[in-house]
Homo-oligomer: 428 residues x 2
């Protein structure tokens, strides 16, 4: 497949950044390989709907092998495997299964959960940074509802029905809103043995506003929306500790819960680097210049969440959102395809949005602020057209319309992890 | 919810038998509780399509709580939890989460894999007796293809691409056919780095014919169909041992493989029984009379796969198929609702069918034998109308048409079990 004239470009990560680069780069000039630990491109903005049973994981996932057959990607190849380390002196990428040589390397592996030096937390909390994590989150949420429905003990039942979301960013606001809707629409109908007052949804945010990245109007709308869904929003509050049973907050209060959803922070995915002393900067992000070149490394680039590109407008780095990753991917594709007239990256902010629940979202575009139904429709539309695959778009649309008209948040199916437990058998 | 006049009926298992009983029984007379270890009704005849990525698990699963809202089930309640044991002296069912008293108890928990005294086998083989098992089977199949695609070692790659199916019943024939189609249509297109000759599908069956439960014509058609899909069918051959790497056969031959799919036998689900010495009979099935009463126990009934009802026509018990379970459920519902004019169970055999692949199935109805496209359409139709839930039917239909016209066997998405492994993090 590799022609000798072509230079080998290896892209680590097939997310928004990596895929937009692969699509736009000149395939006559570059022999492109996309490496990913999953065999599908996923759609993080809708992970919370998977967790809330609104969508099936397959609806928001698209196989790389299918994508590689598309016109835009023809000529690219996909390699399955988690990247263990890169050796910049040998110009090699070591995956779990193979060693890939490169002429140019692009780090596009994105971020994972930041437990701020409390690694034990990941044993107890639920997270939303990957499809498997979203599936696990869904399973645990359904498990709590089902167990509460057959729980005779008042106290235990309340503990099972207490859901705490940590972090008031888009992910936290959206999952809290979705849980509020489960309480309001689903429990009453499908769990007759549960009094829906027994279900409690708490959202804690360290700062004094939700959706800090957006405007004050959006923050206020989000707060009002969540409170109308009976979500107990606690601003200026952080989580001190959680042991799987009791969560303690900075204000000294505590709650008994077996379901804490952690959306409080992200950090760049770990990649072992050999052949140099270079380490990533704050947040596990790699400092890059305006051409996305990683400072101090030759022919190594970084785009998206894992790239730390500072500018006058963004002194602490660009926002870690899909749009930045997509635009960086396209710009780098241009710069690698036409080195002679390369140009520096400039971010065009198309605005940001978040949904709070049925009929309710917030959208900020420059000076324009939308809320309520109009914002919600905008949100639906933008996310629908951004999905990969015609079938996915169709099915997600059907699902959303379906849920909209019968107030149901999808099938609540608890698919336990594949490995089934040791079972007792009748001795034959 | 429980009115005092009503008697409490507990049904263990919400499969074909348990659900048809719950639907048809007189809810003014009985207070019905369905207990299941899953929170959804599943559709075993299509597990093989989940394993082969033809359908998503959600397409063939339907939540009990949704079903309990249907007209037929109104008045029934669903309790989530695996049944640990029953105490017939106290008339109690002990689930993982609670104790349920009963006036009448119905065992409808069905069967699981029979490893014939080789319990270790379940560590190594893939199985198809539950949705989680089918999901695991799918994940491992995709994992082998993806790893083979990036495997430089010839010998290792062939081992990764050798799939062995043990058992020539419907499940074995159908998954072998599906794998044959993956080899024929999918690998060539989506895995350019794999020569599709490297993929090997072997089906071993101990007896001298496939689909023994069906007529000789069907057995012959199935054999021809699989051979056309390049499946290496070995009749009169059994598996001697498998250690996760090498599978040894009764004819002395052996193969290196990391994917063995076990469909060789079933045994009744284990239920601990207290208050009596009674044990189930052959195959872990409970001997019942023609009214489905478990011999030797009062007010305990068994229906479906786990019931062993013998008759002149079926001296070794009725076939363990959906139709028997459904008909037993309905008959028992009648007998429990109108004890005064109860009647013995008589099985009306509506025939049996299996699909071998695209355009190809076999159907036996009494003396009538269908094969090829007609049989395939019959198979599609019968399975489609048997699915629970309008949305499921719609989506499965769309998926099937889709696959039919573009020769694709669905999205091949490898969703790893929910719990994600310990990861390394950048120390902040």
């Amino acid at each position: 497949m590799t022609s000798d004239k072509k230079k080998r470009l290896v892209i680590i990560g097939g997310g928004f950044g990596g895929l937009s680069l692969a699509k736009k780069i000149d395939k006559n000039m570059w022999d492109v390989t996309v490496v990913d630990r999953h065999n599908y491109h996923s759609f993080p903005p809708l992970f919370y709907q998977v967790a809330a049973s609104g969508l099936e994981p397959s609806n928001i996932s698209f196989p790389f092998r299918r994508e590689m057959l598309s016109k835009a990607c023809r000529g690219c190849s996909f390699h399955y495997g988690e990247v263990k380390s890169i050796d910049v002196s040998r110009r090699e990428v070591h995956t779990r299964y193979e060693t890939l040589p490169y002429d140019a390397l692009v780090l596009a592996s994105g971020t994972t959960n930041n437990f701020f030096g409390m690694p034990d937390l990941q044993k107890y909390v639920l997270t939303l940074k990957s499809t498997p994590e979203a599936i696990r989150c869904r399973n645990e949420i359904i498990d709590r509802l089902e167990r509460a429905a057959v729980c005779g003990d008042e106290h235990k039942r309340r503990q099972l029905l207490t859901f705490v979301v940590v972090g008031g960013g888009p992910a936290g606001v959206e999952i809290a809103g979705a849980l509020g809707e489960v309480k309001r629409y689903v429990v009453k109908r499908e769990y007759p043995s549960i009094s829906h007052d027994d279900m409690k949804v708490v959202l804690v945010e360290g700062s004094d506003a939700l959706l800090r990245a957006m405007g004050p109007a959006s923050s206020a709308d989000a707060l009002r929306g969540l409170e109308q869904l009976c979500v107990d929003v606690r601003l200026g509050t952080t989580m001190k500790s959680y042991d799987g049973h009791v969560i303690a907050f900075s204000d000294g209060s505590s709650l008994e819960t077996s379901a804490v959803i952690w959306t409080a922070g992200v950090v760049g995915e770990y990649i072992g680097i050999e052949g140099t002393d270079l380490k990533p900067g704050p947040g596990g992000r790699f400092a890059v210049d305006e051409y996305n070149r990683v400072n101090g490394l030759d022919d190594v680039y970084a785009i998206g969440d894992i790239a730390l590109m500072t500018s006058d407008r963004y002194p602490r780095g660009h926002p870690q959102v899909a749009q930045v990753a997509i635009q960086m991917g396209r710009k780098l594709a241009h710069n690698l395809s036409r080195p002679e007239n390369r140009s520096p990256f400039v971010y065009h902010d198309k605005g940001s949005m978040a949904t709070i629940g049925r009929n309710r979202a917030v959208v900020d575009m420059g000076k324009v602020h939308l809320s309520g139904f109009v914002a919600w429709m905008t949100w639906l539309f933008v996310h629908l057209i951004s999905l990969l695959g015609f079938r996915n778009r169709t099915i997600v649309f059907i699902n959303w319309m379906w849920s909209y008209f019968n107030y149901s948040a999808g099938l609540r199916l608890l698919f336990r992890p594949g490995r089934y437990p040791e079972r007792k058998y009748w001795s034959e």
